[in-house]
Symmetry: C2
């Protein structure tokens, strides 16, 4: 007998009929002899409906009240799922974040979980009760309702699994696992059987939106095995877990792409100490996250600097940089929203050389110019012209042997 934590996202519980489907899946897991704790999101569309109400009410809704509002979405789902299981003859009981309680800090709409009390849930499990927990929500020390931010139900699930020392945390979603790349772009993309936390973090932050980043950080911290799988079939999905030797033999686990960034270049920047701070401090103060930064070698005491920000921040960033330009005596600023970031990810890179080289050569062979490069221990990212995104992903996917055919050949 195992303790299984299952999380169902908004599309999995989007209608009463879909909630019935989830209930059958939960019941089967229970009938198989497991203790079951279920975390659910709001029914698809519900959170958007609530956010629209807030937007209609006023321009800048208070974050405290915003959390009171949007947390009702999950509350509706836990009640309906519990009712359904009860009508099927099972003991089921719903829990709000405040009832467990899931204690968080007070950062409304992006709260972090501090602790989860497992006492009441354990007691109920002992009595053969299936536990249904509202994802995405908690309370702070003063009893205020908090929410964890969009996608926070994944984090709720992993945190509950960690608190209960569950054997596995199954994240049910509308895809059946983590793929070597976006299957809509590359039909040959394969489902990954096992992926390390580190790789998953890179995949997630680079645009493979299967799991919320913070849930992976949480899983890594508490060593929770996360099983990403489909609500709509019984096939095994992808295990996100601690790195093992088998993973290291794979050079590249996946190819990610991200079209959400824009590039800003500053020309003729005086190459002197403190100049970078003068440029990036005001951006940081304006809450603009800078991703990649590149500084050219200096010529005649002048250099060029290029960095990327989210497209949505580009105009704001440009304005700030233009203000700074005069002060530091730079000669010009240019932005380009027409870029794409392509990344290869794999823990195997740590012990294998020449992987970046293969990436550069593969792109060069297709005539794709690399505009920026950044690397970490387990990934290499290149900024290219956006129009080559699909081509780049496809050729890299093939070059690193990730295609279905390639694997079958190896087998």
């Amino acid at each position: 007998m195992a303790l299984v934590v299952q999380k169902y996202g908004g599309t999995s519980v989007g209608t009463v009929e879909k909630i019935r489907n989830v209930a059958r899946r939960v019941a089967k897991t229970f009938d198989d002899g497991n203790d079951v704790v279920v975390i659910v999101s709001a029914m698809a569309g519900e959170t958007n409906r609530l956010v629209a109400l807030a937007d209609e009410m006023c321009e800048f809704p208070s974050e405290r009240e915003y959390d009171v509002l949007v947390s009702t979405g999950e509350q509706v789902t836990i009640a309906l799922l519990s009712m359904c299981l009860q009508s099927m003859g099972y003991n089921a009981k719903s829990y709000l974040g405040s009832q467990i309680p899931v204690m968080t800090d007070s950062a409304h709409s992006r709260a972090r979980i501090k602790s989860i009390d497992d006492k009441k849930v354990r007691e109920d499990l002992k009595n053969g009760t299936i536990i249904i927990v509202a994802g995405f929500q908690g309370i702070d020390d003063d009893g205020n309702v908090t929410t964890l931010g969009r996608g926070g139900s994944d984090t709720s699930a992993v945190a509950v699994a960690a608190a209960l020392k569950a054997d596995v945390c199954e994240i049910y979603t509308d895809v059946d696992g983590v793929y070597t790349t976006d299957p809509r772009m590359v039909p040959e993309a394969r489902k990954i059987e096992k992926i390390s936390y580190e790789e998953m973090l890179e995949m997630a932050s680079l645009g493979a939106k299967v799991l919320q980043i913070r849930s992976v950080e949480f899983a890594k911290k508490y060593n929770v095995v996360v099983h990403v799988r489909s609500t709509f079939n019984d096939k095994p999905g992808t295990l996100v877990m601690k790195e093992d030797q088998e993973m290291e033999t794979v050079l590249v686990s996946g190819i990610a792409y991200n079209k959400d960034e824009a590039k800003i270049s500053i020309f003729g920047v005086p190459d002197q100490p403190g100049i970078a701070a003068q440029i990036f401090s005001p951006l940081s103060e304006a809450n603009i996250t800078v991703d990649m930064i590149i500084q050219n070698v200096s010529q005649d005491g002048k250099t060029d600097m290029t960095f990327t920000v989210l497209k949505t921040d580009c105009k704001k960033a440009l304005k700030i940089v233009e203000d700074v330009m005069g002060k530091i005596g730079a000669s010009g600023v240019k932005s380009n929203e027409n870029i794409s970031k392509i990344s290869i990810i794999g823990v195997g890179m740590r012990s294998h050389s020449g992987i970046a080289q293969t990436m550069f050569e593969t792109l060069a062979k297709e005539g794709i110019n690399i505009e920026m490069i950044s690397t970490s221990e387990i990934k290499v990212s290149c900024i290219i012209d956006a129009k080559y995104t699909e081509l780049a992903v496809r050729v890299l996917h093939e070059a690193f042997g990730l295609d279905k055919a390639a694997v079958e050949d190896e087998g």
Copy 2:
């Protein structure tokens, strides 16, 4: 400076625009120098939407989970109203039933308030904060969400007013007070300026659905002055308060009617001890509420018995009575759903005689036959043929001088 508790019902907060209107009214009360605590219902239609979800999910939803589900309605409203007040520059803070806390018993979907902690609210009021409380909801000793039943927000408001020893509890609704009778039926109906708790209880239970009965019981118990008034204008409404001498000078305060009952007659009942218990115990066990009961004088050791039940219970009651009939040796049973109950209500009856007489004569003059009569200290009710309902209400309204014209004459 006074402490004012205001309650706004579902139609008053039915849209974002209407919530804005409520916010303006709340703000004005605050600007006038009052401390303000606001209790709100779910937006009109929202509770029905949630109930429909539960009905779609299963036939007999668990009451615990039902409460978790429907209590989200009020939660949405408190968040939106607080946001709106904040955007207008006021300090406002929402409270869930569980956050105050409003402690109730564990009778889900019809819970009774046991106590309300005023500590946090008082603290916030001291800091100039407007308090927005979710009506209809509370928690029990185990932290389960409970609800007070339909219309429970009235009771929440009166209970909060009692706990805070508020100067007045204003119940805002879509009518502008309590009328001498249904104005849709009698255009001459007048708004009542002041009415005693006892009269209001009779009015409410007889079909004048302005205030939930339990809220009036609560107000009576804790001597809370309730001001029933309109959300959509500034006219004073009706004060529901302790009986005073002025009220006693009025013979009849109002005329109520109720078409929700049906009449069941049993013929040839052996007139012997214990027979009533044999008839009414099984009805009570089946949760059927019997309202009026009449037993004719006995002839040849046999009697007839007639009683009224809710129309919705009539078929079930008839089946039970038919079962009993054989056992007690009665000769026949008949039901009639085509009846109406007309009542005259007034604390003045206590000290004035001849009021029932006037009622009987007035109905007789119009050829309206009285089928059953029941009386209490402050009311007389008659069952008549349903088709005479409107006529009976009109002539009684006139006979007891309740018409607008009559009052103007007196003035």
